[in-house]
Every structure is written in C-alpha cells, then in structure tokens.
C-alpha cells in the first residue's frame, strides 16, 4: 500500500469513526427539533447551525455520513460479488454462457447509469419507512451496478483461463468447481478489489443524485443526498453558505479519497 493510500485510508477512517461515534459527538439526535432555534447560524450550541425544522445540522451530518459511508461500501461489495460470479462464470465457461452474459451486460450498459437507476427506483414504493428506503436505495445500487465490473472480470477470467498454471491444474484432473473457487477467483482478487474501490464513490454520488431528485433515503433519516436536497432553496443557501458548505466539502473530499484509493488499486493490478 502506497503512502497516498495510507493517508487516504486514515482520513476515511477518521470520518467513519466520527460517524460511528455520532451518539457521543453530537449533542442531539438527528431528528430532534429545536423549535426555538430554527435556521440559526453556527454557534457554540449548534456547531453547524440548524435547518428549517430546527434540527442540529452537525448531528445530521454525522448520522448522514454513517448512512452514506457504511452502506455505499456494502452496496459496492454486493455489486462486486454479483459481478465476480456472473463475469467469472461467463469467462470461465465460455460459449453460449459468455454470449448470454455479454448480451446482458450490453443491455445494462446501453442505458446511462443514472437513467437506469432513476427508472427502477421510481418503480419501487416511494412512501416507505426511512429504514426501508435506505435498504431499497443501496440494495438497488448493488443489484444494478454489476454490469461494468462484470465485463472487466469476464475479460480478466478469459486471460487467466488460458494461462499455464490453470491449464496444468485442469490437466491434473482437478474438478471445474474447485478450479474456479481455489485457483481462478483468488487470482482475480486485484481486479475485484479495484472494482470494489471504484464502485464506492460512484454509489455515494448516485445516492446523492437520487436524494436530490427526491428518490433517495426518506426523511427524517439523513443521508448526504437528502441533506444536499436543501440546495434547491438556492437563494437561502446563497445568503447562508454555512448551511451546506460542510456537506458539499465532505462529499467532495471523501469522493476524492475514494477515487484515489480506487485509482491506486487499479494501477497496481
């Protein structure tokens, strides 16, 4: 692991730790409303001020970070696992399976990612509880985000299948199942790791875009997407930039760090 990666991981670790310790760091819950302090600027009591419902922005930022930073990797893991199974099996088995998977991948990739996500998300129930909306949003990201990685994994598998050690293992009579799990998948690890890291910022951004379009995590549960939705009231934000500068900065910094990790991982594989 390079020095840049270590620094990026350390900063991300601090952000994750702060979000996990939200209960201790924040003075109130993310949904508690202070009716006497509506839209107040940052102060000793409310470090990042309050929103138009009198909720502590700092508490909402910490809890929102927890939702976005912990669930995006979970969705990326799901997408990578689906991609590994589908792409790996297609590359390994070849023939009609490979053609079928390639057609499926082409179908998924023929539609812009955000359009696909938006269309499928809008078809699912919108008036659900906040927890269900979180699960639906991130499960959807995981289930729809496999196509791009699957294409790369299929190509990587095709290269590996023709390599000497696999041909030798196959010739020595090892079962196809064992060959796939014990010899092929472990050698695909660099590609899988790279795809996992690359997917995380993509999913964080997708959740933010969905949240801004009103299709993300339901209120009162905060996420970066739902917090950014306040940007719609741009005249208020323009007069009081403290309202959203912290969340925008956090999204940008975390996105950059994740990209850095993904890029380094991709370059090293």
């Amino acid at each position: 692991m390079s020095l840049k990666q270590k620094i990026a991981l350390a900063i991300l670790g601090v952000a994750v730790a702060a979000s996990l310790g939200a209960g201790y760091l924040a003075q109130s819950s993310y949904s508690e409303q202070f009716r006497e302090a509506i839209s107040v600027p940052p102060s000793a009591r409310f470090w990042l001020g309050t929103d138009e419902l009198g909720r502590d922005r700092f508490a909402r930022l910490l809890y929102g970070t927890r939702v976005s930073l912990l669930l995006a990797p979970a969705a990326a893991l799901l997408a990578t696992i689906i991609a590994a199974v589908i792409g790996g099996a297609a590359g390994y088995l070849g023939g009609r399976w490979e053609r079928l998977v390639t057609a499926g991948v082409d179908l998924f990739l023929s539609l812009p990612w955000l359009f696909l996500l938006l269309a499928v998300r809008a078809l699912l129930p919108l008036n659900t509880s906040p927890v269900i909306s979180v699960i639906i949003t991130f499960l959807l990201l995981g289930c729809l985000g496999w196509a791009g990685p699957a294409r790369l994994i299929r190509a990587g598998t095709r290269t590996l299948v023709n390599s000497d050690f696999l041909v030798q293992a196959s010739a020595s009579g090892i079962s196809r199942w064992r060959l796939f799990w014990r010899h092929l998948l472990p050698n695909l690890r660099p590609i899988l790791l790279a795809q996992f890291w690359v997917s995380i910022p993509l999913f964080i951004l997708s959740e933010a875009n969905l949240g801004l379009l009103g299709l993300g995590v339901s209120e009162p549960l905060p996420s970066w997407g739902s917090m950014l939705r306040e940007l719609e009231n741009y005249s208020a934000v323009l007069q009081n930039p403290w309202m959203l500068v912290p969340v925008i900065l956090l999204v940008a910094v975390v996105g950059c760090l994740q990209l850095l990790l993904g890029t380094e991982e991709r370059l090293s594989c």
């Binding site: 057609a103 082409d106 179908l107 990739l109 023929s110 539609l111 812009p112 990612w113 955000l114 359009f115 938006l118 269309a119 499928v120 998300r121 809008a122 078809l123 699912l124 129930p125 910022p201 951004l205 933010a208 875009n209 801004l212 379009l213 997407g225 950014l228 940007l231 719609e232 741009y234 323009l238 925008i248 999204v251 940008a252 910094v253 975390v254 996105g255 950059c256 994740q258 990209l259 850095l260």
Partner: protein, 296 residues
C-alpha cells in the same frame, strides 16, 4: 466490412428491443401501476370511468402492449403520454432539440477541455504540472451532477456547461493515461532524439497515434452526458428529455418511459458502434507495428 456493419446493426436492434421490453416489464410490475387519480374524480360519469379502466386494461399485458407499441413505432406513432396528456412524438419533437444541443455543447466542451489539459500535462513535464488538472478532475468527479448544476445556476451560467464539467474528468483521466503511455513509446523517444520540436512530437507522434483510442471515448461521453442531463435539467428546470425521463419515471408513464428507454439505448449504442467501427477501420488501415519500427 459490410458483414461487420450488419452484425453491429443486428446487435443494436436486439439490445434496443430487449431494453424496451425490460423497461415495459419493470413499469408493469411496479407497485401502483394502473392507478389513475382520474378514477376518483366524482365529476366523471360511469362511462368515462369505464373508458379509463379500459385504457389501462390495454396496458396490463406487457407482451401485447409492447407488440402494439412496436407496430405504432414503425408507423411513426410513439403513443400517448398519460401523465402529460400529449402525444409522445410531440413531446420529443419539442424537447429533443434542446437536450441534443446541451449534449453537443457538454460533450464537445468536456471532451475539448479534457483533451487540452491532458495534452498540456504530457507536453509540460515539469514536476507537479499535473497536479492542478488532476485536482480539478478529481473534484469534478467527486461532485454529484446536481450539485454542479446548482453551482452553475447560482453563477447564472448555462446548464449545458455543467454537463461539460461532468464529462471532462472522465475524458481527462483516460486521455492522460493514454497519451502518457504513447509518449513513453520508443518512436517518440527516437523523434525527440532527432531534435523535432516538442509541439511536433506531441501532435504527430503522441496525439495522432493515440487519437483512435481516444475516439472510443465518444460513446461513453454521450452516455455520461445523458445521465448527467437528468438531474441537471430537473434542478435547472430545463424542458428537455432528461427532465421528461424523470417525469416519466415518477409518474410511471409506461408509453413515455419505454420510448425514452428505446431512444436513449439507441443513441448510446449507435455512438458506441460508430466509435468501435472507426477504431476497427483505423486498425485495418494502419501499417503493422514491425513496419513502423523498421521505418523508424
């Protein structure tokens, strides 16, 4: 060449047809499909309400709906948008030019900026010279498209340039890697050793050989630009196809959603195929690698 063209056309047609069917099936299976608020309107007579129900019943069988839709599509009839109460063809006629113009500006602007900065990075090899473009591309890549749109809205700039900022980092990163790899190849070192000017080396020996690979970015740029146009048009209230796609999805307007799906898939696949064909034609026409090194 003709067989390649036919194969590509067949692949595009099959993918588009499957995409449309998938879109229709998803909408049909989605909860709340077929619910029409007009049925709650007490002013409508029993006959009118029956007529509304009959209208929905025709969409219940996805296969039948899709076959009927495709038949109409071939005759130039794209159906009727239930949510906007207007023919889909009319909606597209009004909105498509605006979105295509935005996509044109966005893709050209983003690709132009990305290529320019990538070329400057390769040309100006001073330590740290790549830092500023890398930072800019990293920030643009890490920002949701909707946030970029709002920043543009605040600044009073046209939203189409927001699309350019979404496309730019993808083009820059790919182009930079491609150009750096080409700049390290032996023929470039030989050209520099012969004393050619740095601009000539950059243009004739680095950019030109890498150009076909860079052209492959066209397909992904169009797809990215359309994806970005959805939140950007919604946030900026631009009456384009991106906003229409959002309305269709939110209102579960089957006819409109299927038409947009078919249209977008067709556009993406055609641009991708053109880029692939261009790359294949260039590979066929280029001299073999051995011949190039022999000349050098």
């Amino acid at each position: 060449m003709l067989s390649v063209l036919l194969r590509q056309a067949r692949r595009i047609l099959l993918t588009v047809l499957l995409g449309g069917l998938l879109g229709a099936t998803l909408v049909r299976l989605g909860p709340g499909f077929g619910v029409d608020e007009r049925e709650l309107d007490n002013r409508l007579s029993a006959e009118s309400q029956q007529s509304i129900r009959r209208e929905h019943a025709r969409e219940n069988n996805v296969a039948l709906f899709y076959v009927r839709y495709l038949g109409g599509f071939l005759r130039g009839d794209l159906g009727f948008s239930r949510s906007l109460n207007r023919p889909v063809a009319e909606l597209l006629r009004q909105r498509l030019p605006l979105t295509l113009e935005s996509l044109g500006y966005g893709v050209c602007g983003g690709a132009g900026l990305g290529l320019l900065l990538a070329l400057l990075t390769v040309w100006w090899r001073a330590p740290g010279s790549a830092l500023a473009p890398a930072l800019l591309s990293g920030v643009c890549l890490a920002m949701p498209a909707a946030v970029i749109a709002l920043l543009f809205l605040w600044m009073g700039a046209a939203s189409r340039w927001a699309i350019a900022l979404v496309v730019f980092p993808h083009v820059y990163r790919y182009a930079k890697n491609q150009l750096v790899a080409t700049a390290q190849s032996p023929h470039v070192v030989a050209a520099e050793a012969k004393g050619l000017s740095s601009w000539r080396v950059l243009w004739a020996h680095v950019f030109t050989p890498a150009a076909p690979q860079l052209a492959a970015l066209a397909g992904i740029s169009v797809s990215l630009a359309f994806g970005a146009s959805i939140p950007i048009e919604v946030i900026c209230d631009t009456p384009g196809v991106g906003q229409l796609a959002w309305r269709a999805a939110m209102d579960r307007d089957l006819t409109l959603l299927v038409t947009i799906t078919v249209l977008v898939a067709l556009m993406t696949l055609v641009v991708n195929s053109l880029a692939d064909l261009g790359l294949a034609a260039w590979k066929n026409s280029a001299p073999p690698a051995d011949a190039g090194s022999a000349v050098a």
